[in-house]
């Protein structure tokens, strides 16, 4: 398949590539190891592999930030301290307790929460098993309100500083991707969920369904809860998340948010 494989008797480029991954057949292995031409191709593939690997290296402190995100996500759990984080977290424990208290207060004042979507447990773990919420950066990754962790010395095992969990405003434009087992009912499901008189539009293409709606933050939270309750899975970490009112700082009033949602079929592979 490549013009570089022109020597008689040389295995295909696919085979040389497979050899690099330790997946070549026995007789090909013998040839590749003794052929100068194959070795040259192999050398270029090794260089390529190194470059690709290097270019995909994770940033420093990733593990620590993940742990902080997980901790922030346990909003209903008692604020126990994760031992791994060491003592520096203790200093912030009080702040977390306060924030959790606030979160509960907000949940009570907002009201109107949908019952939790009861997801069936499939025999083998799948994406359906892992819930639909998520914490992650909003549009601004270094928003000081975010629960992000900065490692003291950049190492993954160092004690880390945790910022307290803070409620965040919903951004003026929100983009969500939802997965559904079937997309035939999206229009019907949505029109049942959208508040009366809300402006919205829907387009359908061969890869999925897109909607755009103009809603207040509270209406959007309810819509997201409602879509989730109808069995769709939200894949985007952006706020608002289903049944996580406590993470949102609601503005109240009539300020509208542009909501764009893309519905994709999750049974396509």
């Amino acid at each position: 398949m490549s013009e570089n494989v022109e020597q008689t008797g040389c295995p295909s480029f696919d085979s040389i590539s497979a050899y690099l991954d330790g997946e070549a057949e026995g007789q090909e292995t013998a040839h590749i190891e003794s052929c100068a031409h194959c070795q040259r191709i192999l050398a270029s593939l090794r260089t390529l592999d190194e470059v690709v690997t290097r270019s995909c290296q994770p940033p420093e402190g990733l593990s620590a930030r993940i742990l902080a995100a997980c901790s922030a996500d346990r909003e209903t759990a008692s604020p126990t301290i994760i031992p791994f984080w060491g003592r520096s977290l203790v200093r912030y424990a009080a702040a977390i307790v306060v924030t959790l208290g606030l979160a509960f207060a907000v949940k009570q004042t907002v009201g109107g929460t949908s019952p939790d979507h009861a997801s069936p447990t499939p025999p083998s773990p799948t994406i359906a098993d892992v819930g639909t919420g998520g914490i992650g950066p909003d549009s601004n990754p270094i928003d000081p309100g975010m629960t992000r962790v900065v490692s003291a010395d950049g190492g993954n095992t160092a004690p880390v500083n945790v910022m307290p969990v803070a409620k965040r405003l919903v951004t003026s434009q929100v983009s969500h991707v939802w997965g559904g087992k079937s997309l035939d009912r999206v229009e019907k499901d949505l029109s049942a969920q959208l508040p009366e008189g809300a402006k919205w539009g829907l387009t359908r293409d061969n890869a999925g369904v897109s909607i755009q709606a103009s809603l207040t933050d509270e209406q959007l939270q309810k819509l997201v809860n409602g879509i989730h309750a109808q069995g769709y899975d939200l894949f985007s970490p952006e706020l608002p998340q289903p049944n996580q009112e406590e993470r949102v700082k609601f503005l109240g009033g009539s300020k509208k948010i542009i909501y764009q949602a893309r519905f994709v079929n999750v049974n396509d592979n």
Binding site: M1, F13, D14, I16, S17, A18, D21, G22, E23, S44, L45, L48, D49, V51, V52, T53, R54, S55, C56, Q57, P58, P59, L62, S63, R65, I66, L67, A69, C70, R74, T80, I82, F84, T121, S124, P125, T126, I127, D129, V130, G131, G133, G134, I135, G136, P137, P141, N156, S175, V177, G179, A207, G208, F235, S236, P237, R262, V264, V266, N269
Partner: protein, 203 residues
């Protein structure tokens, strides 16, 4: 796979199983160890699919938040990494699709795999014409940056296969399970991705 590698993998699976059990019994440090052990791989998968650091980190954090929530009901006999890779792949793909649908006017859609490929998938392939955002440019050396840009321009099917291969412990068999395609397809997609990349990078 060599014996040494197979043994190492077996040890790793057993360790994961033990960590999951410890976490289920309330040991949070076991979860921290799982994150430490596997977050780089989740990130690599995400990065290869979404092709920018910010989104890759967002996806990676999301992967582990979901795992953290679901781990209490995770079956002990299933393989943790298989589960984790699948979540990472799904979330990254969705992020990628979302990004693509936002900039869809800049994408060229073609109906067939790259010419010369014997890929049997038959799905549509989109060639993203989008360049990396400027803030991605300063973070890597020139060749890495070029590799990233070219990786990003590869059709989704080929990039995903190569990126999964980049997570060293995944065998072709694992990748074929993750992508839902045949072993031979994995082999040819990886080769095709490499062939395209080394031509484009002049290697």
């Amino acid at each position: 796979m060599s014996n040494a590698l197979a043994e190492e993998r077996e040890r790793s699976i057993l360790e994961d199983r033990e960590l999951v059990e410890r976490f289920k019994r309330g040991d949070q440090s076991a979860f921290a160890r799982l994150v430490d052990k596997h977050s780089a791989k989740a990130y690599q998968i995400a990065y290869g699919v979404v092709a920018n650091r910010e989104d890759a980190e967002e996806v990676t954090q999301d992967v582990f938040v979901r795992i953290h929530r679901a781990l209490p009901k995770f079956r002990g006999d299933a393989e943790f990494t298989t589960w984790m890779y699948r979540i990472a792949m799904n979330l990254a793909r969705n992020k990628y699709r979302w990004n693509k649908s936002r900039g869809s006017q800049r994408n060229v859609s073609i109906d067939a795999p790259l010419p010369g490929s014997d890929d049997d998938d038959g799905r549509h392939i989109d060639l993203a014409e989008t360049d990396l955002p400027p803030d991605e440019r300063n973070q890597v050396d020139e060749l890495e940056q070029q590799a990233l840009e070219e990786l990003y321009k590869l059709p989704e099917l080929y990039r995903e296969a190569l990126v999964l291969r980049n997570v060293k412990e995944l065998s072709y068999e694992d990748i074929s399970a993750l992508l839902g395609c045949k072993l031979g397809t994995v082999k040819s997609r990886i080769a095709r991705a490499r062939d395209e990349l080394r031509k484009r990078l002049g290697l």
